[in-house]
């Protein structure tokens, strides 16, 4: 990329994670780390355990063995709330938006950690609560502006086309002002144009807010273009890790991808 980012020291370190569902081995002994401000990609064929990896990182699944350390603190498993509080946000592969709510409200949910007024203040909705709402709304509006979805502000997300829903999903994550952003196949099922937009947004985020980005993708091309370092998973095992070029050269990776028609 033309834009140069000062890549910092390791911020998120995954150590020997293994995850099983009953007999099924989703992940076996995965280790990799993420440096501050970098764009880190996890790639691999379908069912390679990419999503499971993210789910372990933000506490949706509890891995059987292994540790995850974040900014020095080490956890045997993460608790979603903690993870969120530590500033890790995440988007979902098959949209997990709140269908019943408007775009603005969806983004506002991303602010819940920032909103402190108690239930009584909200019931009265006077002073503090009102001010808080307004302040956070203002913040959310900046994101809406950033993602260029002004025209859809008040529409229920259910009614938006897929591409835009993906943006809202990203927006909700951004609303948390994350220091690390996990993107689960942000470009899945998009047309070329939408993909370009999404790439632009991802880079802008990384660039404007200096957000560290971990993204899952199986569209090799895109990944290679925008990411600094790449981890390759296959059948729950790590088969490659390094810069895009190194990974491209890696024989295992090639075979894995040839093996699975990608």
């Amino acid at each position: 990329m033309s834009v140069h980012r000062p890549i910092g020291e390791v911020i998120l370190d995954v150590q020997n994670i293994s995850l099983r569902f009953g007999g099924v081995k989703a992940l076996t002994d995965i280790s990799f780390n993420v440096r501050e401000h970098e764009v880190r990609a996890i790639i691999g064929p379908n069912g390679a355990g990419k999503s499971s990896m993210l789910n372990c990182i933000n506490g949706v699944y509890v891995p059987q063995d292994g540790k995850i350390s974040f900014r020095g603190q080490t956890f045997s498993h993460m608790n979603s709330r903690q993870v969120a509080e530590m500033g890790v946000a995440r988007t979902f592969q098959n949209l997990a938006l709140f269908k019943g709510m408007s775009v603005v409200d969806n983004l506002m949910t991303g602010r819940n950690l920032k909103m402190k007024t108690n239930i009584f203040q909200q019931a009265i909705r006077w002073g503090a609560a009102e001010r808080e709402e307004t302040a956070n709304r203002a913040f959310v509006e900046h994101i809406i502006d950033f993602l260029e979805i002004q025209a859809h502000r008040k529409t229920p997300v259910g009614r938006l086309p897929y591409g835009l829903q993906k943006r809202v999903d990203l927006g909700r994550a951004l609303a948390m002002e994350p220091s690390v952003l996990l993107l689960d196949e942000p470009m899945a099922g998009m047309n070329v144009e939408e993909k370009q937009d999404m790439c632009r947004f991802i880079l802008d985020v990384n660039d404007e807010f200096g957000t560290t980005i971990v993204l899952i993708e199986h569209d090799m091309g895109v990944v290679m273009d925008i990411s600094d370092r790449v981890v390759v998973l296959d059948y729950g095992k790590k088969i490659g890790d390094g810069t895009p070029d190194e990974v491209r050269a890696n024989p295992d990776v090639i075979s894995a991808y040839l093996g699975t028609s990608h």
């Binding site: 979603s80 995440r90 709140f98 709510m101 949910t109 819940n112 239930i119």
Partner: protein
């Protein structure tokens, strides 16, 4: 058709986030409130007030409570009657046991107690989902039915098992005529409804809806399921509790556990479904509908001069209810509220279809 929105632009978020952002709506609502507070007490007949309006108001409040739980937080409950009962009996006990306990306070305490129990019975919801939970809430229903029947302490050892309160008054205002009762309920319900609305459009409300729509995602953005769900149970049972207390104090005057049986729970559930899940306004619609319908069905034959015996009438009512529930679930799962809002949309876009 009647909307003229040009020039209604918002220069602040506060203005943009008000409950009725469109001027025409505000006008209508104000007019409507004026009607409710000023005109109706004067015009409405004794029967109208006693048998229709007061129950309507109180059950609307209960429906709002239930709607918060079911409609907004997606936690189904079949035990609403229980929480009404708790509200009623708690309020009763505060009323009779504490000398000179102000009416309002005992009502609120009713709500508070029901909140406590609500949270208690909400705990399973952290482990149990959907249908299992639905059944679990029945436990509350049957337990309270039993408790208020068998445990004499609750009924202040009244011999008949039925309790009664009388001589309601706030700050010297004696609430005895139907009109008084109506106004009292109306006032209280309006306040509660406003609070409820504020909650559901505040961030707590968004947390509830997030849990309802996609709990995993909600957890990932840092919403604590425990807090979200339990708070929903708490708030819900608080309103339901107050409604229960009102039902006992203002509407019935003297009552026994049967007044809050499982049928009440179902009735409320129907109100919420027909009125519209996830809509405060809908709760009112639903209540109105469910209360007016049987009256209409009862009287319909007489209007046409067809004699129908009461048993048959009640069976008919049941059937129509049942049919309507299914009808609504099939045709308009979002209930009257959705019909209302679509109608409104159509009016705004008139003459265009979309």
């Amino acid at each position: 058709m009647l909307y003229r929105e040009n020039g209604q632009f918002k220069t602040s978020y506060r203005a943009d986030q008000q409950i009725f952002p469109i001027r025409q709506d505000r006008v209508v609502i104000v007019a409507f409130l004026a009607l409710a507070f000023v005109v109706i007490p004067g015009l409405a007949s004794e029967y109208m007030l006693r048998a229709i309006l007061v129950p309507f108001l109180i059950l609307s409040l209960a429906a709002i409570g239930l709607n918060i739980l079911v409609g907004y937080c997606g936690q189904i409950s079949l035990g609403t009657g229980a929480f009404m009962a708790i509200g009623a009996y708690a309020a009763y006990n505060f009323n009779v046991r504490i000398e000179g306990m102000p009416l309002l306070l005992s009502l609120v305490m009713g709500g508070v107690c029901s909140t406590a129990v609500g949270v208690l019975f909400g705990i399973p919801s952290l482990r149990i989902k959907g249908l299992y939970l639905a059944v679990a809430t029945l436990a509350a229903q049957f337990f309270t039915d039993w408790a208020f029947l068998r445990i004499k302490w609750f009924t202040n050892d009244s011999s008949s098992g039925s309790v009664n309160v009388s001589g309601l008054q706030i700050l010297g205002w004696h609430i005895d005529t139907p009109a008084d009762k109506y106004l009292f309920c109306l006032g209280l319900v309006c306040v509660c409804a406003l609070m409820a609305k504020n909650l559901v459009r505040g961030h707590i409300g968004r947390e509830w809806m997030a849990m309802r729509d996609m709990d995993v995602a909600a957890a990932v953005i840092g919403i604590r399921p425990v807090y979200a769900k339990l708070s929903a149970f708490a708030v819900s049972s608080f309103f339901v509790g107050i409604a229960g207390a009102l039902w006992g104090f203002v509407h019935l005057g003297s009552w026994e556990p049967a007044a809050f049986s499982i049928d009440r729970s179902f009735q409320l559930l129907f109100m919420v479904i027909i009125g519209g899940l996830g809509s405060i306004m809908g709760s009112f619609f639903g209540a109105a509908f469910i209360i007016v319908l049987p009256i209409v069905l009862d009287n319909l034959p007489y209007w046409f001069g067809i004699p129908v015996d009461t048993a048959l009438a009640s069976h008919l009512t049941n059937m129509v209810f049942g049919a309507l529930i299914v009808f609504f679930l099939v045709v308009e799962p979002h209930g009257l509220a959705r019909l209302w809002s679509t109608a409104k949309e159509k009016l705004r876009l008139w003459p265009f279809p979309h």
